[in-house]
Amino acid sequence: MREFLEGSRAVAEAVRMCKPGVISAYPITPQTHIVEELASMAARGSLNAQCVNVESEHSAASVVLGASAAGVRSFTATSSQGLLLMAEVVFCIAGMRFPVVMTCANRAISAPINIWNDHQDAITVRDSGWIQIHAETIQEAMDMHILAYRIAESPKIMLPVMVNMDGFILTHGLETVDVPTDEQVEKFLPSYKPLYKLDVDNPISLGLLADPDYYMETRFAINETHKDVLKLIPMVNDEFSKVFGRTCGGLVEEYKTKDAEKVIVAMGSVCGTIKDVIDQMRAKGKKVGLLRIVSYRPFPIAAIYQALKDVPKVAVLEKAVSLGSYGPLLAEVRSVFCGKKKAPAISGFVIGLGGRDITVDSIKEVYKKLTTKEITEEYIDLKPELLEESI
């Protein structure tokens, strides 16, 4: 059924259909309407879940950790500073292998305080062991939550999934979406059967101390599981299309890259704008394309190599920085081609930090700047006059 929905409400609708048993979040700005909507669903009785209104993000993550340990599907949502306050627990949830699903409304990190969109929050916890997928549209953000539970709870995986959607742009934007039916979701997502849980009939201890004899293997095991996730995502995506009649991104999305001479690599909602620019430029005969990275963790190295190996010029466009080094995405895309014979010239551009508008002109400028000479870090739409002032 097609409905005109706000991003947050669409996600809440999808989460409701996944039937989580425990939902917990801390409602500070920057937060979204997702949890508010779920709470009102629970109040109305259309959602049978325990909503725990906690006193901090740290506790929100801890509550879903505890609920997941007790064998119940659980959900939380956060953003920006909230994710950073959770960070300690975020690592724990992955380390303890609990299939929690969390929405991260991607926003900038203080200081200076800024509540608008970029990807710095998710990038900051990229090494925690969570699976991180990035949505381009509200439809995709909605679908990804259903997909996320399916992947997280696969007995071979048992890892948490963070569904990233751009703050404001997707969370507060409105779009016509195709809302799946409860039957479809039920068909695609079976109820959660935990492999292990806190059970008085079969007592186990969780979260033990691992000394140097044991710790390293736990990290290795998570890393190996991420390789399995790379294989699983395309399979689950195929199944998803069979049930719902549309895909859910996969690992990467290639948009007109087959014969392209210049390709932008990007994540999230900016890809919509890029696709528009590509259509305009293609109409004028320019061979440009887009490679959208959907799964940031695990990082789809092989898929990226396949997509870009014949492209002469590549621009990595990212909404996050690793201050003191290359942009994080640039570094990783370059590393894909490190030591390979066929390597494109890969340039890096930083764009839209702290919610700065990304216009069609900004994207056109990136294509224009893309020559055979590699650019390492160029900030698009920087205001030099502000820098002079501050100096």
């Binding site: 506790s59 801890s62 979260g207 033990l208």
Partner: protein, 676 residues
Amino acid sequence: MSQEKMEHLFSSGHTACAGCGQSMAARLVIDAAGPNTIIANNTGCLEVFSTKYPETAWGVPWIHSLFENCGAVSSGIEAALKYLGTKDKINIICQAGDGGTADIGLQALSGMWERGHDILSICYDNEAYMNCLSISSLIMTKDGLKNILDIKVGDEVAAFDQKTYQLVYKKCSGVFDNGIQDVYELKTRHHSVKATANHPFLVLKRQGRGKQNIFVWKTLEQAAIGDEVVAMKNAAVEKTYEFAFQKVEKGDYKVNKINPMEIPSQTSPELMEYLGLYVGDGWTREDRGEVGFAIPDSTPERERLLELHTHLFGNHLRKDDMYVYIGSVNLARFIDSLKFNKGAKNKTIPDWIFTLPQEQREAFIEGLMLSDGYKFGNSWRFVSASCDLLKRLRLLAQITGFQAGKIHWQTVKAGRVCVKRKLLKDTGFGYVCMSKRAKPQIQKYASQYRWRNFLIDNEYYDTEKVTEINYVGKEPTLDLRVEDEHNFVADGIVVHNTGIQRSGLTPFDANTTTTPLGVKSAGNPRPKKPMPEIAVAHGIPYVATASAGYPLDLQKKVKKAISIKGPKYLQIHVPCPLGWRHDSKYTWDVAKLAVETGLYPMFEYENGKLANVRKLSVVKPVEEYLKVQGRFKHLLSNPELVKQIQAVADNNIQKYGLKAEQAVQAPAETIKETKG
């Protein structure tokens, strides 16, 4: 006891210390709560010693994730069980130590209480934030060498004048408790001092030929092996010490004949040599009115002792092959009043000796050498079982014209033969070597000497090269603020005061006396966080305190708590033999003493009202509790502090009405002395 097999839900084989109060209490709790219980545990001792992968001591479902979140994790479990519809059949306990409850974990706990989850939270209170005060730095003051814990605002501490390079005494204007931090040990050939990585030391900066060398501040982190730090070699205060000793007169004591012994009113070289002998080989038994020396017959030491004794006190003694006994209440009490401490492991050199005239300090060291010393020419060695004594002797020697090397300390396992007998338990002893400093011929080899020691002709200070910097571990730290010069002498080395960096920001009034080794509610000028009251203020239905010393009461409270719906809080006092430094077999007694003195009141609040208290039919003085624990050892010598702690107990007794109708004040005779 019945012969049937005891099944516990918290099994043995975990790695807790012997006598750990927390493990005792944890077993009592879970056995009382029963198998239908899920536990969420914060990081802490209990978690580490009970669940080291791949083993677990828990017979119930158990989860740990972080230091501070078990309040929230257990909320999640409770919500999940409610969703599954099994909550009514299953108890949930969230448990933590005192840090995980009252400090870092308080927020999650408060949230859990406020939301009204049906969970019992337990705090195993071992007062660990205050326990391991091995704050060992010794500070030179105008009144002698003091432990940093005993420094008070207004004390004049030795400082280095950075313009004239002379010794000055400056008032201490603040003492700051900086909590537990990573501590490093900086060693030179003759000194060693423990400090945090950011603590600045005064380091010589050589500017090269023809230029004036200067001193700069370097943090321990920046300091390197070979850097020259400033060390003290002379304390400059030389005053004869006047004793304020009141003689016992006839009739004040249980016997009616008192030896007519003259007690000197001030120190003299002879007396100091005598006392040196006493510290090495002597004992006092005040109850018997006896002073003794373990010095065998026909040795030069025995001869010297008799000579000194006759000269100082006349001849009131008894001798046999091994010992010399002096029967005198007054002499025993006099020596006890000088604060040398009792027992070979606890003997020490009190503060006042450090400010005596040179001659008297030398005589004291001579006396020590006579007892347990060995002289090989100019190389002297003193052996002792008291680490504190060696540390202080090393510093005393430094300011009395000696060079002293490092302290060699070793521990010998029980069973090794030592002086023809097998040792009954593990024993530690050590020695320190020293030699008289030669007078340098500065005129002749001026630049050579200055190259080795820039302050060679300085009367009070030397420069010494750093030889080692090692990480020691986490230890509690204190800091001083000193007027004008902003430095002081710690363990013989000039260090910067760091209090100055904060002085402008924080009103330190509450902080201006040293926190005297506070037991939570005792002694610390900032009282312990009143967790039970904080819990009561959340409006939760049941709050209680209990003690590992009263297992039946504890289990009764656990059972009562889980029978009540809603959030419950139970705080259990659990002794920690390692941290509190008491013998592991006394865990139970220590826990009981805390209750019996009124320092740990046991009570129950039901629906916000004080419902029950454990009445005391015998109220014991707080000294009984303090004496059995090493962490309070230094405290007992200060009656003012003991009085403050007694006041805390008295306040508890009044506040909670602890005294039973026919309560009696117990006599202080049953006290066990702490060993080691």
